[in-house]
Symmetry: C2
């Protein structure tokens, strides 16, 4: 029985690092006092781990740094942090972490926490990331812990903008021209929890659901998501 | 001797489609009255071609729609339009267009005009696109008509933003953590012309140059670029 917490972003305006998610992090950990941290979305793995270790210490949770599949085998819980999604996914392939994480999370119920890039890789593919494709992963296929795509840091259209680049909504509609998987635009400050086979939207704002052939619609905070 | 015009975006605030670039388009065409249009960055190739055909008709230039490599062989000039860069590059591989375009532009001096995604694919790779990775191309390697990377639609940091996603500058600095190729952040309304072995920044604004190990710096409009 899977236990997932998929966070839009670790940083939210007005809050410190992971502060807005702390109650939900403690809930999904269910009393576990150790977590294996996957730092590969950022360039300096050790520096990133120190920041995360300090933050989890304030929750009385010990952080171990993941380097290879053995560290996944020994994990009581797994946290994949944000940064660049392409870099993260490539490192997960290079270090053969995909299958071990899938097995431990899907089959053994090890809690999985992802934030931003760590939320992208929990989806079937990384095809709805916002990140720049700075490295070429061997595939865009990711962990597939959920059956829908998430777009983290979802941003509403700014009607006053003079910028002519695609809006986030336009980019997601492009995705749906070429793919049939639904996409949840997850605004900063919100997260998706999966527990007891129920998927719930948490946080202070609604999320935006995009499905092929339907108008985009809002999912209310606190509501169950059936996709 | 290459003739390139690499436009940041076809649409610019306050202008109609390609209006701001019309004088430069006519200059790079050097009297040619026909251009082969590559429409693969957008989903509906025929609809996209109609829009481009109407726009070039107002410049007295006939537009043919590229479907395969034969259309490249017969081209007097080539225009690759904007849309999704991943979709565009994948189609260029699927239709075996890469080598023919390189040969005609680099060896035979056929003028090349790119806008947005069409500018991304003129670079060594598409690793500095802003687009969502909605399809998986067989490589990120692109035409390599220039030796530097371009980030089209370059956006300055908005100091008032409460959004916590990476800024454009942060994304380009991530690229430079993993790659050594310089990157030019090309603001909307600006373009890069290559002619007589000289690379020139055109338009009303400066561009921002990012190089590994150096502070980002501004390139002035009208100045020659030596990279």
């Amino acid at each position: 029985m899977m236990r997932l917490l998929l966070i839009s972003s670790s940083n939210v305006y007005g809050y410190g690092f992971l502060d807005h998610a702390e109650p939900e992090i403690l809930r999904v950990l269910g009393g576990r006092r150790s977590i294996a941290f996957v730092p590969f979305a950022q360039h300096d793995h050790d520096a990133y781990t120190l920041i995360v270790r300090e933050r989890f210490a304030r929750m009385d949770v010990e952080v171990t740094q993941v380097r290879d599949a053995n560290d996944i085998e020994n994990a009581q819980a797994i946290f994949i942090g944000g940064g660049n999604t392409f870099r993260l996914l490539k490192a997960m392939y290079d270090r053969s972490l995909i299958a071990p994480i899938q097995r431990r999370v899907c089959d053994e119920g090890v809690p999985y926490i992802g934030s931003s890039a760590g939320t992208n890789v929990a989806c079937p593919t990384i095809m709805t990331t916002n990140d720049m494709p700075i490295v070429y992963p061997p595939s865009f296929a990711a962990l597939g812990l959920v059956r829908f795509q998430i777009n983290p840091h979802y941003l509403d259209v700014d009607a006053d903008s003079t910028h002519k680049g695609e809006t986030r909504e336009e980019r997601i509609l492009q995705f749906l021209e070429d793919n049939a998987t639904p996409v949840i635009g997850l605004r900063e400050g919100t997260m998706i929890a999966v527990e007891n086979h129920t998927t719930t939207l948490l946080g202070l704002q609604s999320a935006r659901l995009f499905q092929r052939g339907a108008e985009p619609m809002e999912l209310e905070a606190g509501s169950a998501i059936a996709l």
